[in-house]
């Protein structure tokens, strides 16, 4: 008799199906009794935690790949991800965290050696709109943000976000007052601009004008210390990446850009100074410096050389010292070349930028 009442252990597929049904229930406006709803929600939270345990294992057991594959297949066979994302605000904090970890993990699960999450998202790119808008809701931002960062691991998804109107909003999200949320947006922004090299290079060349105008005025010239610091670091990462060499050449030929970087070089923050140097050195090392760049460097030569004379990193850094030596050499040799060229051209010598 005993065996008759013992329920069969639920398979991963069962749990996904039940989760889906409960999500549909949770998504409906609450017409049912309060007590019943509470019970169903508790069951939903339990299911989501079980999904997490299958995918990650727990302190006693490792995850089983077969079970993970079954779960992933069933999850993306229907619209479970959309349901989960749209219902997230209705879950409690613990369930939101579990759901976030489930979504993150699913992006990496392979079924028959395919990342089926990528296929699903490609057909449901509008989900990214919900995730990105999450930054405007302080209670959802960290959960949606973490999911978003996992989704843009797929190149097609990253391309969609880069080319969308949302890209402009990141410049504001990065400066939100809550540090944890702003830092999350900054991490996502960085991921978008560094992970998929060819996509990033294409995006930057197509959107060069508005992107760097925003980047300079909103981020590099922000009044927020951490915004400036992270922005100048990221700028260095972007420009020093070989795949972005065309963008780099364009960036270091602009006197406005040089002016901004020279101001950052003068900051009292050591960290910002060092990061600014890694961008500034590209202006100096450029072998085809436009005349106005040369004249700015010449006009400020002695100040620059004085600055570099006692410019040091906290820990000894050979690469930094080598770069610095090269920049100093380059700037020191400028005047002579500049004068020769001016004599040849007989052009007027101007330097609008007083540093």
């Amino acid at each position: 008799m005993k065996g008759l009442f013992k329920s069969k252990p639920r398979t991963p597929v069962d749990i996904v199906r039940q989760t889906r049904d409960l999500l549909i229930y949770a998504g409906r406006s609450s017409d049912s009794r309060e007590a019943k709803r509470e019970e169903k929600m508790a069951e939903l939270f339990k299911n989501i935690r079980e999904l997490k345990c299958i995918l990650y294992g727990n302190s006693e057991s490792e995850p089983v790949s077969e079970a993970c594959a079954q779960l992933t297949h069933e999850f993306f066979r229907e619209n479970t991800l959309r349901l989960l994302i749209t219902c997230l605000p209705k879950l409690n904090l613990e369930a939101r965290k579990d759901a976030t970890q489930v979504v993150a993990n699913l992006q990496r699960q392979q079924v028959n050696s395919r990342l089926i999450a990528s296929d699903y998202l490609e057909a449901n790119l509008d989900l990214m709109d919900i995730l990105i808008a999450g930054y405007e809701n302080t209670d959802m931002a960290l959960h949606y943000g973490a999911m978003l960062r996992e989704c843009i691991r797929h190149q097609t998804v990253a391309r969609y976000v880069l080319e969308s109107q949302h890209m402009k909003k990141f410049f504001d999200y990065i400066q939100l007052p809550n540090f944890d949320i702003a830092a999350d947006a900054a991490a996502t922004f960085k991921e978008l601009l560094t992970r998929h090299k060819s996509t990033v290079a294409e995006f930057l060349s197509k959107n060069y004008d508005w992107f760097f105008a925003e980047y300079n005025s909103k981020l590099l010239e922000s009044t927020n210390y951490i915004t400036r610091r992270q922005a100048v670091k990221l700028l260095g990462d972007i420009l020093l990446d070989r795949s972005n060499s065309a963008v780099m050449t364009r960036y270091v030929s602009s006197r406005d850009n040089l002016r901004i970087l020279m101001n950052l070089l003068r900051e009292s923050s050591k960290s910002i100074q060092i990061e600014a140097f890694h961008v500034f050195k590209l202006f100096a090392a450029n072998q085809n410096k436009p005349a106005d760049i040369v004249s700015i460097l010449v006009a400020n030569k002695s100040k620059l050389l004085r600055l570099f004379a006692d410019f040091k990193t906290d820990k000894e850094d050979e690469q930094f010292e080598a770069d610095k030596a090269q920049v100093v050499k380059e700037i020191a040799s400028l005047e002579l070349r500049d004068r020769l060229e001016r004599n040849a051209k007989q052009g007027p010598f101007e330097h609008h930028v007083e540093w």
Binding site: P63, N92, R108, T138, N178, I226
Partner: protein, 397 residues
């Protein structure tokens, strides 16, 4: 979800900093007043310019973890925002301060079992919650266990906490080297083997000894030596007659060198020792009675430190007592607040190994301490595999 919503603003002008209650490394903690709610809070001010890019990323993760925890035994971040070059993190104000502080103030030789039992049980609940979420705290110690005037106990400082589920992967283990040496599990020191949440269980066991004696084991030694001794020696034990058998047994279960043989936090909570935990109004009665609110705890500590140091030097103590005192003195100098750079330690170890002429090198002390047949090189290879292997090679020529 009213309980997790952000109630505290991210506007610096809503907060008035009152007095300094803690100071360590690049952060200072203040008692502060939150004007919109007339509430007292604690504000941690962290100088971001003194943090490198790598630790900025950790600060982001820490702050995010802290703002997403919802457990009575964990310190939550109510809000966080940037003010000039500082990050302000708003947290609950715990008026008694840390267990370390309470202990130094009134119980320099350790707490009573009834107090320890309650404090440890509350701490263990916090660890159980963190571990279930895939987090490792990595810095469990009395200095990070805070007590409020009503007896509430909260684990704080996720400064080095790591998430095993970071970015969607179950990571077999972490292999970054963080924490404070005296509390650090052997497998954390042997960076190549990696570690998981069981490392916290070791630190929890050390914390139990710390609360029982007033200081953790090995606190009189320099970091590098602590490292070697933790790996080489038998695990420390709770031996004192005044403590119960179940307490000793619980500590012994935590301090097993093989992490797999340590219980999970959940299992440990079911240990018979914790069955006897009494509510704080009973268990912490004495501790809470000692506490007088309006003083600046940091100042008081400094005064006490200088007093106890004078007392110690004026007396001629028997060797066992002297050992304890020395340990205590080193401890009070603040090993709890050591910032710890493994790269530097490794470098230190390699210079010690190369320096043949120096009598006070690592080797000579090591040989004295461990006459178990292992060569010094052997021991160091275990600890610092890369550096020492190259050293061994060059030594052959």
């Amino acid at each position: 979800m009213a309980d997790v919503q952000r109630i505290y603003s991210a506007n610096r002008f809503d907060y008035v900093l009152l007095d300094e209650i803690g100071n360590g490394g690049s952060a200072t903690v203040y008692r502060a007043f939150y004007l919109p709610l007339n509430a007292v809070v604690a504000v941690k001010c962290l100088d971001l310019d003194r943090c490198n890019n790598g630790s900025l990323e950790n600060i982001r993760l820490e702050t995010q973890t802290m703002s997403c925890v919802d457990h009575p035994n964990l310190v939550r971040a109510y809000s966080s925002f940037v003010v000039d070059r500082n990050l302000w993190v708003v947290m609950p104000f715990m008026s008694v301060g840390s267990c370390l502080h309470a202990m130094k103030k009134a119980h320099p030789n350790g707490l009573e079992e009834i107090e320890i039992c309650f404090i440890l049980k509350e701490t263990l609940k916090a660890l159980d919650y963190l571990h279930r979420q895939g987090h490792i705290h990595r810095d469990v110690k009395a200095g990070n266990i805070l007590v409020d005037s009503n007896g509430a106990v909260k684990l704080s400082d996720f400064g080095v906490s790591a998430c095993m589920f970071d970015s969607g992967d179950r990571q077999r283990c972490r292999n970054t080297f963080t924490g404070t040496p005296c509390w650090m599990a052997p497998e954390v020191m042997q960076a190549e083997t990696g570690y998981d949440s069981k490392a916290d269980i070791w630190s929890f066991g050390i914390t139990a000894l710390e609360l029982a004696h007033g200081h953790p084991p090995l606190s009189e030694y320099p970091p590098l030596k602590v490292l070697l001794m933790t790996v080489q020696n038998a695990p420390p034990r709770l031996g004192d007659k005044k403590f119960s058998k179940s307490f000793k047994d619980m500590v012994a279960m935590c301090l097993v060198k093989d992490p797999k043989k340590r219980p999970t936090a959940g299992k440990l909570l079911k240990h018979s020792f914790f069955k006897h935990a009494k509510p704080p109004e009973l268990s912490l009665k004495k501790l809470l009675a000692d506490f007088r609110p309006p003083l600046n705890p940091v100042k008081v500590l400094q005064i006490q430190n200088s007093e106890s140091a004078q007392q110690l030097s004026s007396k001629n103590m028997a060797s066992a007592a002297e050992y304890e005192a020395r340990s205590m003195r080193e401890y009070q100098k603040g090993i709890s607040a050591w910032t710890f750079d493994i790269q530097e330690l490794k470098a230190q170890a390699s210079t010690l190994l190369l320096d043949d002429d120096n009598d006070e090198t690592l080797e000579s002390r090591l040989v004295d301490n461990y006459r178990d047949g292992l060569t010094v090189m052997g021991q160091c290879n275990q600890l610092f595999p890369l550096k020492c292997q190259t050293l061994t090679k060059s030594a052959q020529f």
